[in-house]
Amino acid sequence: MDKYISHTGSVLPLRRSNVDTDQIIPAVYLKRVTKSGFEDGLFGAWRNDPEFVLNKPEFSGATILVAGVDFGTGSSREHAVWALQNYGFKVVISSRFADIFRGNSQKAGLLTVVLPQGEVEAIWSAIESDPKTELTVDLESKTVSYSGKSIYFEIDDYTRWRLMEGLDDIGLTMKKIDEVSAFEAKRAAFKPKTIPALS
């Protein structure tokens, strides 16, 4: 995973709440067996509408998505994160994320930033009046800044450290693998095993 310290880019303002992962990437696009190539399915159904914000030329090249409350609800498909990344997004900002989507993003290196709804609205207004406005999302100082304004955001220290170091979770757990073995040695004998198969 790439190290994430700070990112500056333009913004796609998505004024919708409850954007579920079926909207981010509809199921028919989930058939690929790779982590790439999902950009064509991003917001697959909405993209047919020429008025949809992703189709507007003034927002092309945006790398920061700013969405309404409850972003990423529903299905656990990490394809939603890959689709956003494949399209070029580095950061998603919302006032509330669904747990699984947020976890998937943090594992895959897409930064999710929670800001109060009022700040989200302020960013939308700023971008809509000047789509060229750039945001800087800095993990070191835990701030989102634009137009001379700087907003502090909360992120837990562990996730922040992992993202800034670009660390892979499996590698971290492998360092504790002896503890895993010790735990396994104490597991109750009645716990089920899938092999041999009984039916």
Binding site: G44, S75, K191
Partner: protein, 465 residues
């Protein structure tokens, strides 16, 4: 102070716990399917890693498989590649797999319980958000993404931040015609799609205790629709009775040891939940969704809401968008809404009791000629059981299509999809825009409401017949 059930299971699975870090939790069972696993196996190969515990892992094919002509090769080459990839990965890494045509194939959340590998007190994960279904057994079960699938394959653990716990007390007695599906739809309407975010839900109270195992699974299944990654119910005699004869249930002395442990799996009387809500079961009615998220639901006797009456700005906007998408007018009685398709199936309502309940309503009647009805059993065994009971004949005589097992129209990934503007009464779990097919419109209902609607052609409950 005592502990909640979720806290107890959590504590029993901590491999390592350090300040400032997530806890490392041991995973007792990892369920796998074709859609969210290929990239995880690729990751293992790239890092030259093995599956640590193939004996705690099991795969089945469900999301992207056809429900017709399963004796023939899968027609869509991209779907075929995905299913073949799972088969190849299972063979290469030594994972048990139940493929299309196998008697134990089916929706992953139907297969686990019927094999008896879903048991109380376990940690269970799957790359599918409806893994919460297994919480009905008093297990801590939740959906994970593909990065986490790879992590579990490699280490049989997950680093996780301890969740808060919420008690949902459902007290009283359900009226005839009101089911566990109506309980969970009412809960989601009450707390909203984000209400459970950050919590494990524990469903409690006399109305929950009175439910069968399968009905409990329906409740826990949709915890994610309330924003909670997991939901669970304390195990009791109903749970033990269900598990007793299952193939992978503990036997002999192991059974005794298991029961002794399972009986400790309940929230202590003095346990403190971070949040608590109460629902009166006596007052519940058959429920139906009118919008495009599962929180947009109302009793079937209600009318399509008027967004102007909704105080919250966000919710009002969402309601306006939903009515446009759903093609509905505020003030229309829900029972006057005409549907085109009935879908009976899914990990929410595709088990034998669901099929029996629906068959009971339609027996000897004819399907409304304007609707099509798809009946998709949750697993091959559910299908065989239904056929042994003659339910397939009831559905076919009624005019429904009797299919083979899979997720099917619940997520519209295989050919079973709604077309643009087509309206469904569906026993599944999500009414998102396009969920069941691009442009399709979904009303979530119980199997009883689905059956009555298939007869009348408009959203109905058996009481309307």
């Amino acid at each position: 102070m005592g502990n909640t059930l979720a806290q107890k299971i959590w504590a029993d699975h901590i491999v390592s716990s350090n300040p400032g870090e997530p806890d490392l939790l041991y995973i007792d069972l990892h369920l796998i399917h074709e859609v969210t696993s290929p990239q995880a196996f690729d990751g293992l190969r790239l890092a030259n890693r093995k599956v640590r515990r193939p004996d705690l892992t099991i795969a089945t094919e469900d999301h992207n498989v056809p429900t017709l002509n399963i004796d023939k090769p899968i027609a869509d080459p991209v779907s075929k590649l995905q299913v073949d990839t799972l088969r190849k990965n299972a063979a290469e890494f030594g994972v048990r797999i139940h493929s299309l045509g196998d008697i134990d194939q089916g929706i992953v959340h139907v297969v686990g319980p019927q094999l008896g590998i879903t048991q109380p007190g376990m940690t269970i994960v799957c790359g599918d958000s409806h893994t919460s279904t297994h919480g009905a057994f008093g297990a801590l079960a939740f959906g994970i993404g593909t990065s986490e699938v790879e992590h579990v394959l490699a280490t049989q653990t997950l680093p996780l931040v301890r969740p808060k716990t919420m008690a949902i007390n459902v007290e009283g007695k359900l009226k005839p015609g009101v089911t566990s599906k109506d309980i969970i739809l009412a809960i989601i309407a009450k707390i909203g799609t984000g209400g459970g975010q950050g919590y494990v839900l524990e469903y409690r109270g006399s109305a929950i205790q009175a439910l069968s195992m399968e009905s409990r699974m329906t409740v826990c299944n949709m915890s994610i629709e309330a924003g909670a990654r997991a939901g669970l119910i304390a195990p009791d005699e109903v749970t033990f009775e269900y598990l007793k004869e299952k193939p992978h249930a503990p036997k002999g002395a192991d059974w005794e040891a298991a029961i002794a442990y399972w009986k400790t799996l309940k929230s202590d009387a003095d346990a403190k939940f971070d949040k608590e809500i109460t629902i009166n079961a006596d007052e519940l009615e058959p429920f139906v969704t009118w919008g495009t998220n599962p929180g947009q639901g109302l009793p079937l006797n209600a009318k399509v809401p008027n967004p102007a009456d909704i105080a919250d700005v966000e919710e009002r906007g969402a309601a306006e968008r939903a009515l446009t998408y759903m093609g509905l007018t505020a003030g229309t009685p829900l029972k006057e809404i005409t549907v085109d398709t009935i879908f009976l199936g899914s990990c929410t309502n595709g088990r034998i009791e669901d099929l029996r309940a629906a068959a009971d309503v339609i027996k000897g009647k004819k399907k409304n000629e304007k609707v099509r009805m798809l009946v998709v059993p949750g697993s091959a065994r559910v299908r065989l059981q239904a056929e042994a009971e003659g339910l397939d004949k009831v559905f076919i005589d009624f005019g429904a299509e009797w299919r083979t097992a899979g997720c099917s129209m619940c997520l519209g990934m295989n050919p079973d999809q709604l077309t643009v503007g087509e309206r469904a009464a569906s026993t599944s779990n999500r009414n998102f825009e396009g969920r069941q097919g691009k442009g399709g419109r979904t009303h979530l209902v119980s199997p009883l409401v689905a059956a009555a609607t298939a007869i009348r052609g408009t959203l109905s409950s058996p009481a309307d017949l």
